[in-house]
Symmetry: C2
Subunit: 219 residues, 2 copies
DNA sequence: AGGGTGATGACTGTCGACAACCGTCACCAT
DNA sequence: ATGGTGACGGTTGTCGACAGTCATCACCCT
């Protein structure tokens, strides 16, 4: 009963709304890693047909939030400590490209301002809000690079990033996402020092990897 | 009539086989960019239900091979010249990470040997075979890095890479995929010179980007 | 008691049908 | 001739039902 019926009045399709509802339910911890996601149960909870939730589940599977268990049954995915470290290494590579592109762009200063503005959302709200702000910041970083394929690649990992962060402990994570951690990235972009910016991003990701990989092992 | 009925005797699900058939039909040029992919027509050609091809199409949409047109109708995607350049920049970042990981690994020599062995497939067969060998080489590069998330990220772009290459001219592309182009990557890995390896990969991708972006504009 | 075995239940895989939507086009009134 | 309008065809969105499959478990035979 952790997924709520669709009741919004928007004009998007039931499939899209079911997808969003399921994704939200999983990343917000409504379902724990390893939980079995039955099509019939979800369908009845969401108030839609099985085929509709089926498509949504397949989408989530491609996003990496859900993984196939025995006999095609789907379970909520959980990344191992190793995978978490791998994930953040890839993020470092992608976001390293992002800062490279931004620094080499003539709109560098404008981008830095936009990022600094986005930093303000990082300090307020509850845990989920901060996670949202953190992911929003990094996604914005990719967007400002002006490389649509980079955004696509980042989004392909977004689901996995989300579950990893949300599964982390809610006590230690805030410090992980504090503005202090992100400000150096902006500073480096602003000053145009590419090498510094790259190492800052690298370090940011390495620290996050250690943090979440440790939390992952504990469970 | 460019997609053929499923007649294989394997035990995979109809959805998986339809997915493979559609992907193959698109990447092999059976459908041209912009072509409308009607669910009913594909279903009848493949000999399966609409719901089944529907799931396959959604999968392909997430892969980027297919894009949504008006009223939810799906068309074969085509990347613009700009997107092609963006795509290869992301590849450079990802495969740059791959060579970094390989060089820092104790199994560096073994990886180099494996790669060199894979190079042999690059010089034979028809155009499609060579494309397959080329993509196989680069995927292998990512795999040898031992980073599963890197492989995931690369695969997320694989479809777009495929259509881009297959849409290129079959005359100029072989030289693009010649063994000479890839051997320097292996040499750099073998010698352990990280900086050299990175610049080689960067250059490899930049050359490919120019090549395919130009071909893209011509159409 | 132990091991094979058949019923059972809960899933997913797949299908065909209905409904809603939108573009198109012929047709009519002005 | 032109603008509006209504029917029509094609396409996707969504649904409910049937069939196949696998794990579980009680049960029977030895």
């Amino acid at each position: 009963m952790t997924v709520e019926p669709l009741s919004s009045l928007d004009r998007s399709t039931l499939r899209e709304r079911s997808l969003a509802a399921l994704r939200s339910a999983i990343t917000s911890g409504g379902y724990r890693p390893g939980d079995h996601l039955g099509e019939v149960e979800l369908a009845s909870h969401l108030g839609v047909s099985r085929g509709t939730v089926r498509e949504a589940l397949r989408h989530l599977q491609q996003e990496g939030l859900v993984t196939a268990g025995n006999r095609g049954m789907l379970r909520v995915n959980r990344l191992s400590a190793t995978e978490v470290r791998e994930l953040f290494k890839v993020r470092a590579a992608l976001e390293g490209l992002a800062v490279t592109e931004i620094i080499n762009s003539p709109r560098r200063q404008e981008a830095a301002d936009t990022l600094r503005h986005a930093l303000q959302d990082l300090g307020s709200g509850d845990f989920a809000d901060r996670v949202e702000a953190d992911l929003g910041f990094h996604l914005l970083l990719c967007r400002l690079a002006g490389n649509s394929m980079l955004v696509e690649a980042w989004r392909a990992l977004e689901g996995r990033i989300r579950v990893t962060i949300m599964n982390g402990d809610a006590e230690g994570s805030p410090v992980m996402m504090a503005g202090d951690r992100h400000a150096p990235i902006i500073d480096a972009i602003e000053s145009g020092e590419l090498a510094t910016a790259l190492s800052v991003v690298e370090e940011h990701m390495a620290a996050a990897a250690d943090h979440f990989a440790a939390a992952d092992d504990a469970v």
